[in-house]
């Protein structure tokens, strides 16, 4: 049966943990109620951050034996979300609460050509798709980009499995990806699936639009955890609620407001639905829009933001020294 988006929670046991690249650990889970995971699925799981249970999403890299083994991979990313530190501390035998596989990024069978594009840890969402396309003998190219080879998980395994169909682009080996060249290879019957940093995905989207390709053939998954700038601590003021809240690096503005007792509206918590939108009445600094709900035009206006993923930084160059004033960015908002 097709995977759903209805969360069915179960427990899972950690069977194995293994470093697979610099800062990336492969975690094999044994779920208590196994179902096999379609390509493109992820699981939600509860991590512990400072004693509090918080939900995080991880792509299913691999599912074997009818789903009795689920593999995820976690990158240690101290600057964004605190959950990765917890995940890296897991040892075999540990128990977790996880959902059955959830589907937000379905692979359509039957396209004439596929380009799969993985940037960095985004490979976790793409690897299973590539394996299925290989099994189906589909016409596909797997493009894997990274900063340096030893930070790229599974690069050897993928090369063994996909041979010539794998194309790697590695910045410090001088083989960086030329996005217009890649998109130039797509035609009307090509579907491109991608997961990676927002800059990469945005460049692909711009090329895609320039080439007047059908937007629905450009498929991507975002967990809202990648931005244009490194996350900084900033201040959010809500005069209506008489609040001033500090948003630390490792926490979202939505979470920080909730922590402070504000009753916030939200749904997806990953920048897709637009329900967590707040109106900006004053800003010292720049908004790092990390959502996919707003158009570029709307983002430039900087009058609203989706607070589940978007943040504030001190200056448009990302450098503190360019800021108009020292200290953190400050946003004043009216919640919806």
């Amino acid at each position: 049966m097709a995977a759903t988006n209805i969360e069915t929670w179960q427990s899972a046991t950690v069977i194995e943990t293994l470093p697979v690249a610099t800062g990336i650990t492969r975690i094999v889970l044994e779920p208590s109620m196994p179902v096999s995971a379609e390509p493109g699925t992820h699981i939600d799981l509860m991590v512990e951050i400072e004693g509090e249970a918080v939900k995080r999403s991880y792509s299913v890299v691999e599912s074997t034996h009818g789903g009795t083994r689920l593999v995820i991979s976690v990158m240690k990313a101290p600057l964004s979300r605190g959950g990765s530190i917890f995940m890296h501390s897991l040892i075999p035998g540990a128990r977790l609460d996880i959902t059955q596989p959830l589907q937000n990024f379905p692979l359509r069978v039957g396209a004439q050509r596929y380009i799969l594009l993985a940037g960095g840890i985004g490979v976790t969402a793409i690897a299973n798709m590539a394996a299925v396309l290989k099994r189906l003998k589909a016409d596909y190219t797997l493009v894997y980009v990274g900063r340096s080879r030893n930070a790229m998980a599974y690069v050897d395994e993928l090369s063994e499995l996909h041979g010539e169909r794998l194309e790697t682009h590695i910045d410090d080996e001088g083989s960086s990806l030329k996005v217009p060249e890649l998109v130039g290879r797509a035609d009307a019957s090509t579907e491109l699936y991608m997961c990676g940093p927002i800059r990469l995905m945005d460049a692909v989207r711009r090329s895609w639009v320039e080439r007047e390709l059908d937007l629905p053939n450009l498929r991507y998954e975002t967990f809202g955890n990648s931005g244009w700038y490194d996350p900084e601590e900033f201040i959010v003021r809500v005069p209506k609620l008489d609040l001033e809240v500090r948003v630390p690096q490792g926490r979202s503005m939505l979470e920080a407001l909730e922590d402070a007792g504000a009753e916030m509206m939200f749904d997806c918590r990953k920048g897709e639905c637009g329900l967590c939108e707040v109106r900006i009445t004053e800003l010292s600094g720049t908004i790092d829009h990390r959502d996919v709900f707003y158009s570029k035009r709307q983002q430039r206006l900087a009058t609203k933001m989706n607070c589940c993923v978007s943040r504030a930084v001190t200056s448009a160059t990302g450098a503190q020294s360019d800021a108009a004033h020292a200290g953190p960015a400050v946003i004043t908002i009216e919640p919806n």
Binding site: G66, R108, L136, L215, P216, E272, V292
Partner: protein
Amino acid sequence: MTVVAPTSSTTNKVLPHPLNAWYVAAWDHEVTRKPMSRRIANRPVALYRTEDGRAVALADACWHRLAPLSMGKTMEKDTIQCPYHGIVYNSAGRCVSMPAQETINPSATVPSFPIVERYRYVWIWMGDPTLADPELVPDMHQMTSDEWAGDGQTIHAACNFQLVLDNLMDLTHEEFVHSSSIGQEELSESDFVTVREGNKVTVTRWMHNIDAPPFWRKNMQDKFPGFEGKVDRWQIINYEAPSTISIDVGVAKAGTGAPEGDRSQGVNGFVMNTLTPETDRSSHYFWAFMRNYALDSQLITTQLRDGVHGVFGEDEEMLKAQQAAIDANPDYEFYNLNIDSGGMWVRRIIESMLAAEGRLVASA
């Protein structure tokens, strides 16, 4: 539905349907630019054709608030618009327009099901799409062959699909259910042979030197005006998993060599049947009667279609009553007769398909 593995001595009264299989969603002419809704394997499906005539099957529930897409309208190229807030999807089930915002939520999709058009039918695959191989569409070539002519209809059968398969795999019921048209006592008296090969089962029955029942007397006279006398009659039931049965039926002038392969002195038809589970308690039963004589007579096509419609109406009544009795008597078992061998092989094959999908529970 609790279903036990075939190693058990109890016979499952009704069965769930395998999902990794092609089922007929509709006759080709039913699917048009105006969307239609049909429940298939328990799921509502919206069916329509694209501007260039391709059949499309999407889950009949909009991603947003689950409004039925079948109530919407088809738009340019391969798209369909939800009737409620106007979200537009393409044939892959992907949102191409969200009227109330400047961007498209990347998660906005509805499931789209693989489709094959073949043998005058639109076939659909409800299970794992990575397994949907068009080569697996059951053989119903008589439906579109130059050597056969005929037509058919759809019955909405108020029973589990397996009960219809049982009905078609054992035709001794004709003597009792269809006594005025094709039934005769020789059916129960004559021997039959059941052969199972892979996902196919064949049940062959010959009745030698008998009187032709009314339906067959008329067909003989259509081909051989004024025909009277004894006939040799055959019924060769060909099942292909999960739910297609084509029955090679006919009569020939007795003793002219039909059992040995010379059917020139007879008339031959194929009763084409294919079942699509609608729910666990109802089925779409697509049938046609194809013949290999008087190919250009629309009169005979219509007469045969109406005649078979009458015969199958008798089955429909019986099946509905049987399903009601099954549900009203949950404590009673099914017992089996020797004549059930064909149907029992069908059950065995379906149960093994279910087991492969992990949907059959072992008996306690």
